[in-house]
């Protein structure tokens, strides 16, 4: 029985991102199955051997007893007359002795060339027999003879006549092996069959037990993949005592990671606030002082303030992007997109822009909610800004075989002027270089590019086939 096929699931391992998987060690189930398989086979083999040996010995001793009984029965039937002549028996202890070739033979030989054979043994060659001293007995077998393999029992007897003479003769009873062996073979076959059945049953039982006792491990693995897929926050089932050490540590790790991310984001938000408010003060004060004398100086300072502001904004947004995470929860797209579109429709109410969405049911983003909002928000705001009347948002999940989390395709199109093909490169380039941006244009796109980059996706800018304006499409790979 193949241990691996008996267990339907090879417990999925939680460590999926090992760089080079040399050779996966055998699964616990396979190990246990192989080990118990060998032990069971050895044990059952030994039991079989012992039983068959014991049976053989028992059979031999039974044979010995039987042949001895026959011999004694014959001896009591022999008689010696007063002249010392041996008189052959007139009855046989078993009818097989009278049937020629029955496999049960009796031969007697004695003084004065006495020789007697049971009817079954007439005409057969028993030259291998040797007379024995009175009182001696032999049990021999198996030996090869013309009649096949034989066991025989011979017994030497001395008969005292009335005349005071002693007549010696030897009685031998033989049996062919096939009679003994026949019984033995059947026994062995039965033994093998029963032991095999027992072995299979024990193996199946063993595998069931194994499955049952490995269930918690499989549960941990499946809970873990739920956490990875983002369907669950923690390993939240009840686990057996042996595993709680592991699961509690994993939970602590996950919580810690999340807390650290939150703390990091808050720090960044505080930093943003404390940097940008002074910048806002400087800017508004400079812009409000319109005196001619200061005008020139103000412009130069304002320019620097603008650069500082953009650098701060860009770098903070970049630092806040958390990127791909192993334990990210799934953020449904539909809700976030609706909020954004409603907000933007409010802000761009004067433009009367109609935004249509086509969001596949259940499409989700695996990462920070904030990153999703930045990604969609910047793309949509851009589209609202440039659109003349229509914006189209399309979101599709892209499941990939063998990956737990499906990929994501997001495209935002507008019916605005679009971006000329030779300008696309420039638009994207400008996004990458945070410090050389055109005022009010591009920081959003560079944030989008950074997020896409952090999630190892790609951003494509081309022409919208349906609306005729620009189309920004983002593709995030399945993981």
């Amino acid at each position: 029985m193949d241990a691996d096929t008996a267990l339907p699931s090879r417990a999925p391992t939680a460590t999926t991102n090992e760089p080079s998987r040399a050779r996966r060690p055998l699964s616990l189930a396979a190990r246990a199955a192989i080990a118990t398989g060998f032990v069971l086979a050895g044990f059952l083999g030994l039991v079989g051997l012992t039983l068959s040996q014991a049976n053989k010995e028992r059979a031999l001793s039974a044979l010995h007893d039987r042949l001895q009984n026959f011999a004694i029965a014959y001896i009591t039937n022999f008689d010696v007359n007063r002249y010392g002549r041996i008189l052959p028996p007139d009855t046989s202890p078993d009818p097989n002795f009278s049937r020629p070739g029955s496999g049960l033979y009796a031969v007697a030989m004695g003084d004065k060339d006495f020789r007697w054979e049971s009817p079954s043994a007439i005409g057969r060659d028993f030259s291998f027999l040797v007379p024995l001293e009175p009182g001696a007995s032999r049990f021999v077998g198996p030996i090869d003879t013309r009649m096949g393999r034989l066991y025989y029992y011979s017994y030497g007897v001395a008969w005292d006549t009335e005349a005071g003479k002693s007549v010696r003769f030897t009685v031998m009873v033989a049996q062919t092996e096939d009679q003994l062996e026949g019984g033995n073979m059947a026994y062995r076959r039965a033994l093998v069959i029963w032991l095999s059945v027992l072995g299979v049953m024990l193996m199946v039982l063993q595998l069931l037990l194994l499955r049952w006792s490995l269930t918690p491990l499989r549960k941990v693995a499946s809970d873990m993949s739920r956490v990875e897929r983002g369907d669950s926050e923690q390993l939240d089932s009840q686990y057996p005592l042996e595993l709680t050490g592991l699961t509690e540590r994993i939970n602590a790790f996950i919580t810690n990671e999340r807390e650290q991310r939150t703390r990091y984001r808050h720090t960044l938000a505080d930093l943003a606030h404390s940097l940008k408010t002074p910048l806002a003060v400087i800017r508004s004060q400079l812009e409000s002082t319109t005196g001619d004398v200061q005008a020139g100086r103000s412009t130069a300072v304002l320019d620097q303030v603008r650069r500082m502001d953009e650098l701060v904004a860009y770098q903070l947004a970049r630092a806040a992007t958390s990127g791909r995470q192993t334990f990210a929860s799934a953020v449904p797209i539909a809700g976030a997109a609706e909020d954004l579109v409603q907000g933007l429709e409010k802000v761009y109410a004067a433009k009367n822009v109609l935004c249509e969405f086509d969001i596949e049911d259940g499409a989700a983003f695996y990462g920070e909610q904030g990153d999703l909002l930045e990604l969609l928000g910047n793309l949509l705001e851009n589209a609202f800004k440039w659109a003349s009347h229509r914006v189209l948002l399309e979101v599709k999940a892209q499941p990939e075989h063998g990956r737990k989390r499906p990929g994501l395709y997001v495209s935002v199109e507008d019916d605005g002027p679009g971006i000329a093909e030779d300008k696309i490169e420039k638009v994207l380039q400008r996004g990458v270089r945070g410090d050389e941006r055109v005022q009010g244009h591009g920081i959003g796109l560079s944030i989008v590019q950074d997020i896409v980059h952090a999630y190892r996706g790609e951003l494509v800018v081309d022409c919208s086939p349906e609306l005729g304006g620009a189309r920004f499409s983002v593709r995030l790979a399945a993981s």
Partner: protein
Amino acid sequence: MRILLVEDEAPLRETLAARLKRDGFAVDAAQDGEEGIYLGREVPFDLAIIDLGLPKMSGMDLVKALREAGQRYPILILTARGSWQDKVEGLKYGADDYLVKPFHVEELLARINALVRRASGWSKPILACGVIKLDTTAQTVTVEGKLVDLTSYEYKVLEYLMLHAGELVSKADLTEHIYQQDFDRDSNVLEVFIGRLRRKLDPEGTLKPIETVRGRGYRFAIPRTDGDDE
């Protein structure tokens, strides 16, 4: 136009308030959310500018509270973080627009004008009632294409009347929305402004753009020619 400005950073609040006043707005400044909610409920503002990072009561809660108190005037939120999370949340709770700090004061003024206009049902930056056109961006007024020279307060009075063209505007409304609290509220001043406006807009006395509703107030009588965006 009366504006509520809630900003905790004193220098920014003062510069902005000064700049808005110079542009003819009446400004009530509050330094935290609690003061903001008090003023926001009591005074009939035309617009509120609310910073999201406020002490005592966050800007987000203030927006929510004002909307829950039934205040309908447009709200513009200022955010330092500039994250979409803040923007979306703010818009969801009832803000109408957002501006990321630091911003150009010009940008802020443009947004304020657009919001106030939109709130009174005008979708384009030029308010047109017959031959009288008021450009809220350039802050100029033309009659039959000819520029009319108005003082800042005259412009504000006309803008307010035209924004609410067709509606009755009481003297109290006008004074409240145009003047600072500490300004001289003598209704004669208002009558003087209205008189001057009538003379400047309609020297021949044929258009009669501003109607006096005896004992109740004024009404801009020429119907809107541009109400809907095409």
